[in-house]
């Protein structure tokens, strides 16, 4: 029982992070039919910016949580700006070009950001400072749950709920969904599709920066190729849920996190990826469009 509760919490923590990052993949795909391969790197850029903020403000005498909040705000603002620039420079000029051109551009952008991170922060593993957050751990029924885990889970739920409400219950959110269904029809409604795409490139990297910084805080480290590792997980989460589908990315992220945790907890952590991906393949064999995806087949 203790292992079970423990792995549920471990799974929800990483699952929440995967979901936050997966939303960026799925929203961009939904509106542009493009896999933004640079997304994972943007997220880790957020982790490094946050880390720099934390190390440079450490010892300033302000309370840890305030410094952490500041790190998040700065990371979000800079990563969102990078997302908008990425779209303008790497994707907008290619919008009418062959789909392969945009994919190559995305891969190039990914390498550029990754190597940019290496040039600025170096190739070593950077370690996050400790002592920013209360070192509280709750023990119950043989499981121990840390404050960081609870913070990540609560924040992920809050951000996803906010996104869901925005997309489904506001005018501009409906415009985003309309542009995802049919861009020309959306234009005929008076929707500025360029603005919709720009907003998507603000929302995705915003959630991604939070996810990236969570990864750094949770594992207490960051390294420049981390964007590929976690970007791949999150991308798979988006596929699992049905790419292009927002609740799908949330569900896919959480499920992938839980698979991962249970595989690690009940079998072995060295087998966790093999087991997770075997399950993923099994699900995709039954539902090739992902758990909640139904539009993909007709759109591609």
């Amino acid at each position: 029982m203790g292992t079970f509760i423990q792995q549920v919490f471990n799974g929800l923590t990483v699952g929440g992070i995967y979901a936050l990052i997966a939303l960026g993949y799925t929203m961009v795909y939904g509106v542009m039919r493009l896999i933004n391969f640079a997304h994972g790197d943007l997220c880790i850029l957020g982790a490094f910016i946050g880390l720099t903020m934390l190390t440079s403000t450490a010892g300033s005498g302000h309370p840890g949580p305030a410094l952490l909040l500041l790190a998040f705000v700065v990371a979000i603002v800079l990563v969102a700006a990078a997302g908008v620039v990425l779209e303008l420079v790497a994707y907008r000029p290619l919008r009418k070009a062959d789909r392969l051109a945009a994919v190559i551009s995305a891969l190039g952008a990914s390498l550029l950001i990754e190597n940019g991170i290496m040039l600025i922060w170096g190739p070593e593993v950077a370690v996050f400072p400790s002592g920013l957050l209360p070192r509280i751990t709750w023990h119950a029924a043989g499981a121990s749950i840390s404050f960081v885990q609870v913070m990540i889970i609560v924040a992920s739920i809050f951000l996803m709920a906010a996104l869901y409400l925005f997309v489904n219950h506001t005018r501009f959110g409906t415009a985003i969904r309309a542009a995802a269904i049919d861009q020309d029809a959306a234009r005929l409604m008076g929707i500025n599709v360029n603005r919709v795409i720009a907003i998507v490139f603000v929302i995705g990297p915003t959630l991604g920066a939070v996810g990236g910084l969570f990864i750094g805080i949770y594992y207490r480290e960051a390294y420049f190729t981390m964007g590929w590792t976690y970007g791949l997980y999150a991308f798979i989460a988006a596929i699992l849920g049905g790419i292009g589908n927002i609740p799908g990315a949330m569900l896919g992220g959480v499920l992938l996190g839980l698979f991962n945790a249970f595989a690690a907890g009940y079998v072995s952590s060295s087998w966790q990826n093999a087991i997770t991906f075997a399950l993923l393949i099994a699900i995709l064999l039954v539902r090739p469009t992902g758990l909640l995806g139904e539009r993909v087949a007709e759109k591609v």
Binding site: R171, T174, A175, R177, A178, I181, D182, D184, A185, A186, R187, L188, M189, G190, I191, N192, V193, R295
Partner: protein, 245 residues
């Protein structure tokens, strides 16, 4: 003064010159029909007016102001709304969400009044307001596409093939609604393969053939002309269906 003034419009669609110098005018409160077979360039013309395609040359003026190079969203804000060919309703959004999107450019407070107007015009949409648009019948989707365009409160309403793929009885219902809509003072530019229905509704008509206007005149004259009779009205048929559709 004319509300819409198009001069020598040339539009390429890839390598093909789809419009080869179109000039036409639409006056305020007129209903204009544009007739022609598949591939004549009717939809290209509509897409160009709405700003979805950029012309190679020529000009489009709306209410005296050049809109040739404006983006599609700005053109809606100027007062031109379109119900596109193939209806293009947002299938995974509800009927109500579709209609609200039609009013995307309008101030929030004006939406409710327009919704009431559209729903009284098409009571079926009111009944199905919570349903996904993709689950509606073809006729209902056409009503939704027209209603959605009306939500923008346009001064000029562009209708691209509102009868496409619909049963004759539904087509008649839709054209009755169009007559009602025109009576509210909206200017209408209607593209149709169903020439008889279109000309019965319209004041004037233009006939398009492979990117050129080959014939124009009063709707009654066109209805009676022998060229139209043989090419678009299929001789003696009286059910309103064109042989070409």
């Amino acid at each position: 003064m004319s509300l819409l003034d198009i001069a020598d419009l040339r539009v390429n669609y890839g390598q093909i010159e789809a419009l080869k110098g179109i000039s036409l005018t639409v006056s305020k409160r007129e209903i204009i029909a544009i007739l022609g077979a598949n591939g004549a360039g009717k939809t290209t013309l509509m897409r160009t007016i709405s700003g979805l395609l950029l012309p190679r040359s020529g000009t489009i003026h709306f209410d005296g102001v050049g809109i040739t190079k404006l983006g599609a969203d700005r053109i809606v804000r100027r007062g031109i709304a379109q119900s596109p060919e193939g209806r293009r309703v947002f299938g995974t959004l509800t009927v109500l969400e579709n209609l609200r999107l039609g009013g995307f450019t309008r101030p929030h407070g004006e939406i409710a009044g327009s919704l009431d107007f559209v729903m009284s015009m098409f009571p079926r949409l009111a009944e199905r307001r919570g349903q996904f648009a993709g689950t509606l019948s073809g006729g209902e989707q056409q009503m939704l596409a027209i209603g959605r365009a009306l939500m923008a409160k346009p001064r000029l309403l562009l209708l691209d093939e509102p009868s496409l793929g619909l049963a004759p009885i539904i087509v008649q219902a839709i054209f009755r609604s169009l007559r009602q809509i025109a009576r509210t003072g909206v200017t209408v530019l209607l593209v149709e393969q169903n020439a008889r229905m279109a000309l019965k509704l319209a004041d004037r008509g233009y006939v398009l053939e492979v990117g050129r206007i080959v014939l124009t005149g009063e709707a009654d004259t066109l209805l009676g002309s022998s060229e139209i009779q043989t090419a678009y009205l299929g001789g003696e048929r009286s059910d309103g269906a064109s042989l070409l559709s």
